[in-house]
Amino acid sequence: MSGRLPVNLIIGAVLVALVVGVAALSLVWTPHDHAAMTIRNRFQPADATFWLGTDQLGRDIVSQLMVAARNSMTVALVAVLIGGSIGVMFGLLASALGGWVEDLIMRVADIGFAFPALLFAIMLSAVFGPSLTIAVAAIAFINIPVFARVSRASANQIWTRDFVAAARAAGHGRFAISRDHILPNIAAPVIVQGTIEFAVAILAEAALSYLGLGAQPPSPSWGRMLSEAQTLMFMAPHLAIYPGMCIVIAVLGFSLLGDGLRDITDPRLKRRRA
């Protein structure tokens, strides 16, 4: 009984493996060139050549979905890594220094929380022009306060532990302790948060692309495929359904994986299961 993994973890891991696997496969192989347009082949139904059919420009949908998965993963990964690193750094700093520094960092984080990501992305696009880099920057930015909060809350707990006091007695300063003791011990909650934020980032990337603020043509993206399919909704509903399903699978997969990881790393839940 105790050795069993939670169901959400297993389902999440399977869905994530599927999406990541497809994205990785697109690097070396797609059924067709995702950007190749053949007007003769527009609105082909699903068959042996085009597994999910073609769009209004005759492009293969499967190939586009695969490449879009790769784009989506890359954006989410880079954004979460950047946002996470900066956020964790601020969180550790706030926790280590305390006092007014902590107050200042956390109040700024509160403001960051209140700031809608889309608005930020639109502002950046207005200044610099829409591009994938802007989308990544916007998503990374909204992740900073999230990670700052999580890492500060976890770090504050670790700071009260005796082994931290022992490290102080040993003669270590606040930064050495943050590096040697705090960071390794908050890794679990931060990784859990990172997995959940990955799902949020995929959704955000889809939303930005839908608005034309993310990946630019010819680079395919689930969000832009949706927006292009919108005008053809009644003529070719499958053009909207497939990218929509991809978004659902990816977001659901990472959310479940994050939940599952939390279940197995949270000591309180562990005790209840034991």
Partner: protein, 260 residues
């Protein structure tokens, strides 16, 4: 006689409590109230009191984890709270601490040898592998135990590891805050004997803090009784047990089974 190793002069520490009302000033808790003591090299002093008596706050000030609001903590004649960061770090080699909870005082993600060598690295001392092996040997553990993680040890063994870390820099003073309170009686006796061995071999001065007067009495030359932040009685162990002047001390004697 030379100057004392450790001297506390009228040390007071206050904490501000959360506000109870918007326009009233927040209440202040005086955790330690005007406590003075002095300890010579190689001596053992027991601090006895119940939870909330201020004994742990006193320990934190001796360890320079926090500064007193009034008074001074002098270690080998130097005021710890006036030292520069680098000097304080260096001074920490000479006074170390053992904590109550053997499951909390070791980082679960670090190998035991890493934790024991931590004071050496932090204070810039050298030759850590040999020193770690020696410290493990002194507390009755094997050199190979340095490669293990804390969860592989029992509570008593972990407390031995914590003691090894505290003595690895060869300090002059060891502060033990309820260091045996979390242990079973038979293991508690082993650790107390170990502390006595180390104290005699290394000429350690020791501040031994506990709620249990019986434990303190078996290891300390002198005892200081604390209540509500104040030092209410202090004296040689034998005299204090035979002739407690304060009713509170007598009640602690009864509670610990030393007097019926």
């Amino acid at each position: 006689m030379s100057a004392p190793l450790l001297q506390l002069e009228g040390v007071t520490r206050r904490y501000r409590m959360p506000r109870t009302a918007l326009f009233r000033p927040p209440p202040v808790l005086t955790a330690v109230d005007n406590v003075s003591l002095s300890l010579n090299a190689g001596q053992t002093l027991g601090i006895v009191g119940e939870s909330g008596s201020g004994k742990s706050t006193l320990a934190r000030m001796i360890m320079a984890f926090e500064a007193p609001d009034e008074g001074a903590v002098l270690f080998q004649g130097a005021d710890l709270n006036r030292l520069s960061g680098a000097d304080l770090r260096l001074a920490r080699r000479r006074f170390q601490m053992v904590f109550q909870d053997p499951f909390g005082s070791l980082d679960p993600r670090r190998r035991v040898g890493w934790s024991i060598a931590e004071p050496l690295r932090a204070t810039g001392a050298e030759d850590s592998a040999a020193r770690v092996t020696q410290a493990l040997d002194q507390v009755g553990l094997r050199a190979g135990d340095a490669e293990k993680y804390p969860h592989e040890f029992s509570g008593g063994q972990r407390q031995r590891i914590a003691i090894a870390r505290a003595i690895v820099t060869r300090p002059a003073l060891l502060v033990a805050d309820e260091a045996v309170s979390a242990l079973d009686v038979s293991v508690q006796a082993q650790i107390l004997n170990l502390l006595m061995d180390l104290q005699e071999e290394m000429g350690l001065a020791m501040i031994f803090i506990s709620h249990d007067l019986a434990v303190v009495a078996c290891i300390c030359d002198r005892i200081l009784v604390m209540r509500n932040g104040k030092s209410i009685e202090t004296g040689d162990t034998g005299a204090l047990i035979a002739n407690p002047r304060h009713d509170y001390t007598r009640s602690l004697l009864v509670a610990s089974g030393l007097e019926t």
